[in-house]
Structure formats: C-alpha cells, structure tokens
Symmetry: C2
Subunit: 192 residues, 2 copies
C-alpha cells in the first residue's frame, strides 16, 4: 500500500492503474487481482493508509473537547496537504474497516471522558470532519478528471468583480482561514 500511495502522490489518482501498480511491484499486472477484488479496494486501502498517517491523539491532562477536536483536524489537514491527490478519495470513500471504526470509537470515547455526551461528540466530529475535508478539497484538491482550463486574469477580477476584489485585497492565508472556520465551528456548537 505504500507503493500505491507513492504512485498516487507522484502521478495522481488517474495515474494509479492496476497495470502500473502491478508493474511497480515487479509483478504481472493481473497478479493484483489475487489479493484485491477490484480497483475500489485499492482506493480504500490507500484511504486507510492516509488515515493511519494521521495517527491517534494522546489525551493530555487539561484537555478539553475543543482542544481534542481542534488538534485532531489540524493534524488531518497537515497529512492531507502531504497527499493532495488523495483528498477526493478520502472525502468520497467511506471506509468502514475495523481499524477505522476502532479509531473513531476511541476519539468519541475520549470526548465523552472530557464531558460530552456520545451523541454530541458524534455530531461535532462529523461536522468538523466535513468542514476539514471540504476545505482541503478546495484548498489543495486536485480536480477529478482532466485539468481545469485557465481561469481569469487578476486584472480582470479587479475591475469586473469589485466586491470579490476588495475581499481578496489583503491576500489569502489558508492556514489562518482554515483555523478561523474550525475555531468558529467549535465556539458556536451548543455543547459546552
């Protein structure tokens, strides 16, 4: 699976071919089908490998549910930025493997331990996860299918779309913007 992830990082998800994957493993392309039922299983394995890279939080003294959720999804973002081609896969393929479920279970358990109900914890995690994946998709996601055509020149934006231009005037800081949204989501939740 490290091989599959490496191929995706290098060539994109369209570049991960059953044939190429076999070749990369130094094996007949079709040998892969002995271990994996189809290409979807290969994708799911890659998604799981990415989640493994996020790893698990250890709950420190004085942790709050806000700090746990914040740290979890900041880490998630950092990992996804290292594997931008996998973002559509991660957002799109619900992997329900035992390892994945166990990890989710431990996160919910940790949040319950610091005072949340299980139902609230699940709500917050689901929303924060949606926000994170959605944000990464537009921040760093590589378009599905062929590349997108050229956009619009900056000068055009300034004159034709004044409000947009005004909003963008002081630049765009993804780190800061992602953090603002995640912070807002946590601060605004009727949970504490």
């Amino acid at each position: 699976m490290r091989t599959a992830l490496a191929v995706i990082d290098r060539d994109g998800v369209a570049g991960l071919t059953m044939r190429k994957f076999g070749a990369e493993l130094g094996v007949d392309p079709m040998a892969v089908y002995y271990y994996l039922p189809d290409k979807g299983a290969l994708f799911d394995a890659v998604v799981e490998a990415v989640h493994d890279e996020v790893g698990e939080l250890l709950v420190e003294e004085g942790a709050t549910w806000q700090s746990l959720v914040w740290e979890t999804f900041q880490r998630t973002r950092r990992v996804l930025l290292r594997h931008p081609h996998t973002i559509p896969l991660v957002g799109t393929r619900p992997v329900l493997s035992p390892r994945m479920l166990a990890r989710a279970d431990r996160l919910i358990a940790a949040l319950v331990e610091v005072g949340l109900t299980a139902a609230t914890a699940l709500n917050i995690v689901a929303c924060a996860r949606s926000y994170t994946v959605g944000y990464l998709l537009v921040e760093a996601g590589v378009p599905a299918g062929p590349p997108v055509g050229a956009g619009v020149a900056d000068a055009d934006v300034m004159v034709a779309y004044p409000s947009l231009a005004a909003g963008m005037a002081q630049g765009y800081d993804p780190d800061r913007q992602f953090g603002m949204g995640l912070r807002a989501l946590l601060d605004g939740f009727p949970a504490g």
Copy 2:
C-alpha cells in the same frame, strides 16, 4: 448541458462518456470535440449548470449576514441532494467562469451591505462553502471509482465499538446535523 447533467444523474460520472454523450445527442460521438476541448470542459459545464440551479438570493428587508449565508448554503445543499453524483465534481473543479465570479461577487456585495467587511464576508463564505461541500460529500456523495465493499453489520458495531454505538443510538438526522454545524459556524465567527 441539460443532457449531460441528466446522463450523470442517471448513470453517475463514470457513466458520462464522450461517446455516450454524443450518442444521447443523436450525433457522432466525436462531434462533441468541435464544441468542447476535452472531458474536463464537459465536467465544468455540468458544475456550472448545478450552480445555476441554486440560483440567487434576493435580499429582503431585515436580512442579516447570518440569514443570507444560512439561506445560501441550505439551498446549495438541497440542490446537491438532487444531483448527488455531481458532488465530487462540484467540490473538486474550481470553475472560474464569468457567470460564477459574478454570482460570488454579488453575494459578497450583499453581505457588505448588511455590515460585513469584504474580507470577512469572503472568509465566512469560503468556510461555509467548504463545510457544505464536505458535508454533502459524506452524506450523499457517490464514491469515485468502483463501489465500496460491504461495511460492517450493525450488531458488530454495537459490541465492538461501544462509544460509537452510544452516539448513534438515537439515530442520525442529516437535516438536523447539517443545520447544527452550519449554525455553529455562523454563531462562532468573530464577525458580528
């Protein structure tokens, strides 16, 4: 483009083939290339058609920035639920057409009119959009590539993952959960 969207709604994005698209139009499959440079352009046109369906808000007396953003993304969700196969496309292909930019510009302008700075308006819209797309991706998104394998039976979840099971005990209401997260995002934003 209505034809292309209809094909995607029926057969999924993998089912929208340049060849099938031509056939559906009653024309030689390759005739499409006279009008569109490649398949990416076809995807972008579909994304634009979906955004057109969301339409535009009219700003009523007494509107706040919260009510405008709320209404915008509730509508976006409703439209995406009608075209679930397009969600990965919408989340993934940044269409910067004049029509799209003009619509974004008018939304920002409306938010400035009710008291936000342009920069803040852009931040909020970007975050709310990320949240919405991310949420829909897991709520209704159809996995990229081949279908995902079978998950885990409910009974297994109960015994092996107790915290997860406790959180899910009172059921899952996507409408309510989506609304909670969007509300939290708006309430928590340091903007008012």
